[in-house]
Symmetry: C2
Subunit: 190 residues, 2 copies
């Protein structure tokens, strides 16, 4: 919502078409040549817009890369239903770690954090995780299972995973993700 209103994009309008073609141009050029040599004029040429269109709308290359990163970090499926809160949250956390700790995932997280003067893009990444956790917890509540709050899962599962991906990646594996989930659902019932 924040991203949409900030850019004032109406779906289907000219603005939305420009955004789609500029985002596509960035993804293609990064796939072809890597991000090191990417320039705004290059993106503009590939997208069929003028460089000034890009500068006016995104400010600079770093902000454009940040918007593209957030778009790529948007989850494209709902969390799977494995029959219990423990299985659902474990499976979600393992997949989150897998995606975010991959070289591509790390590059997107850095881009999202970087070209983001007002913090809106980093906030959007966190909102995606919160929405997925909400869905898992709502399903568990429907089953009648006791559940922790979304913020507790963010503090004690998402935050340690992301902190270690960014600052302390040694020994990060899915067993660690499973331990965090077990602890947050544990008998202490925070």
């Amino acid at each position: 919502m924040k991203v949409m209103s900030r850019q004032m994009v109406r779906p289907g309008g000219r603005s939305a078409r420009v955004q789609a073609s500029v985002h596509a141009a960035v993804r293609e050029l990064v796939a072809e040549n890597g991000r090191e040599t990417l320039t705004v004029p290059q993106v503009a040429q590939r997208a069929g817009v003028t460089p000034s269109t890009i500068y006016r709308r995104w400010g600079d290359l770093q902000e454009l890369l940040s918007d593209v990163a957030v778009e790529r970090l948007r989850p494209d499926t709902a969390p799977g239903d494995h029959g219990s809160l423990l299985s659902d949250l474990t499976s979600w956390a393992e997949q989150f770690l897998d995606e975010m700790s991959s070289p591509t995932g790390r590059a997107y997280i850095r881009d999202a954090l970087l070209g983001d003067p007002d913090g809106g893009n980093a906030g959007q990444c966190s909102a995606y995780a919160a929405e997925q956790i909400d869905a898992v917890l709502a399903r568990a509540a429907e089953r009648g299972e006791p559940t922790p709050g979304t913020e507790a899962v963010i503090d004690h599962v998402v935050a340690p995973l992301m902190y270690r991906i960014l600052f302390r990646p040694d020994g990060l594996d899915s067993a660690y993700a499973r331990r965090l989930v077990t602890a947050v659902l544990g008998p202490a019932d925070r």
Copy 2:
């Protein structure tokens, strides 16, 4: 240690003097004009070295800024002794949040994460926090208090604070830091 060995700096040698004057030049120029307009030739001129000295040693401006940031994030005092583990850890966490969530702290964290292709600088930031926590826990153990492990404090105090500073800053305050500390020391005794 990692930073030192990577840069092969002997204290007192020419290399250490170059590093000290280049770091000082960056800090002065950022204080005078902000970081937006900072360039390597400008830093070189102020530090009295050639630009190629900087490029050879740091690669580019972003890596130089990252090294300066890590240096600034190094704690300059040992954690205070307030008589109990709860007081010591609470006071440390409040100060950590205060420093890291300030505009300067955020800028340093971003710099440290960014110009850091091999992850050594981000790792160094995390090592600083771990050393401080080790000191707090060792003092508590000497007093005979039961203590959680350093990694548990990183996962459940440092990580949530840093995650929220970077991704979800709304409503971040010292009461939140205190709740995290109380929970990690709580009766569940993880």
